[in-house]
Symmetry: C2
Subunit: 227 residues, 2 copies
């Protein structure tokens, strides 16, 4: 292996490490955002909102590193595809971070309102979404097509949960229209989780393309018409 | 100018042409989606949904072209930045296309339900969003930082409209909870428009970075806590 190839390999390994570490922190941010909502903890929510600044900075750093590698090493074929995939995945991670902020903002609002009950387990939904995110990144690092396909399949389950949440909220509003705002905010939180799952699916689709050359994105990205 | 540089310049010009043409069609798709909703025209809505397949194919094509240029011409500095910006903008355009599909799906649903009235001009909101999209692409082609900044500013106006829509819907539901579903669907449409404006803002922010090197993304991308 030439010295140039060794340098490129090292740079790509470092890039993978960066994106994985960003993914781990974005996942944690999503966990804490939902926790702040369900536990009505506005201090925690505010910490999630503030911490997003660092996530944003790291996304910028990863993008700069990708550009540096493209300019310095001028990779082709598989290496080029991998770096472009990481550029896109980096973007998805940053947007998941933004969605955690959106959830945390709902948590701040809801902590000042009367508590409303909903027969829906938002933390369970969030757990599923975080698992999708984690596995999508694992599939990237291990070039694991099978795992990536599993993530894409799981997106339907999260869509179903979002619809279930919608049913719960619609029923609740009919019975108790005084707390309309709070219910709509809770519904927003569920939608944000569903959008996080879409981003995890984007990541998995990029991995499938990277490994097999098969384009499967644009499949089930749109929401169902009945909701 | 070397033969290599001339080839690269031609390839980049063709790329700009492709992204502009995609942008025009995405803008038209957004227009028709909102028209199908306000005119309760489910045939038009279905055409918007079907036409998205072609938009998706073209996004894939643009990405392939970007990768080809990176591999064949190995551009550096400004050219490299431009191609990466186009890759990202391409992605934003595809997602705007998806949001048009989401709106059209709502239109299909609403066309089967009783008509509800809302004192809110969704078409006016859509017009503002399409103007943002158009100007963001103009700012790319003309490397017009000032125009790009104007697009970013306009995002706040669209956020305000979305909040206004929310107020209208909340009031309507309180008065007429029988048509809850329809109102929530209309609210979704307004949110989809607001997300389109976010994508146009992303594009403008990429242009500002391209022209000035200044990173201004991650500014006002999250929604306000009160809604």
């Amino acid at each position: 292996m030439s010295r140039h190839a060794i340098h490129l390999e090292k740079a790509i390994d470092e890039l993978k490490r960066l994106i994985l570490s960003l993914g781990t922190d974005v996942e944690e941010s999503a966990r804490l955002a939902v926790q702040s909502l369900t536990q009505r903890d506005s201090d925690l929510a505010k910490r999630v909102i503030e911490a997003d600044y660092e996530i944003d900075q790291r996304e910028v750093y990863v993008e700069e590193e990708c550009l540096k590698i493209l300019a310095l090493h001028q990779p082709v074929a598989n290496d080029l595809r991998l770096i472009i995939a990481i550029l896109k995945i980096n973007n998805d991670l940053e947007r998941i971070g933004d969605l955690s902020v959106n959830i945390a903002e709902r948590a701040v609002y809801l902590s000042t309102e009367a508590k409303v009950e909903l027969p829906f387990d938002l933390q369970n939904m969030a757990k599923k979404v975080r698992s999708m995110l984690k596995r999508s990144l694992d599939s990237l690092v291990n070039r694991d097509e099978k795992l990536a396909r599993k993530v894409c399949e799981d997106d339907d389950a999260v869509d179903d949960l979002n619809r279930e949440m919608y049913g719960c909220v619609a029923q609740a509003i009919k019975k108790d229209s005084n707390n309309l705002n709070s219910y709509i905010q809770l519904l927003s939180a569920s939608r944000y989780l569903e959008r996080m799952a879409d981003h995890a699916t984007n990541i998995a689709e990029d991995v499938i393309y990277l490994v097999t050359g098969e384009i499967i994105r644009h499949g089930s990205k749109t929401e169902e018409a009945e909701f």
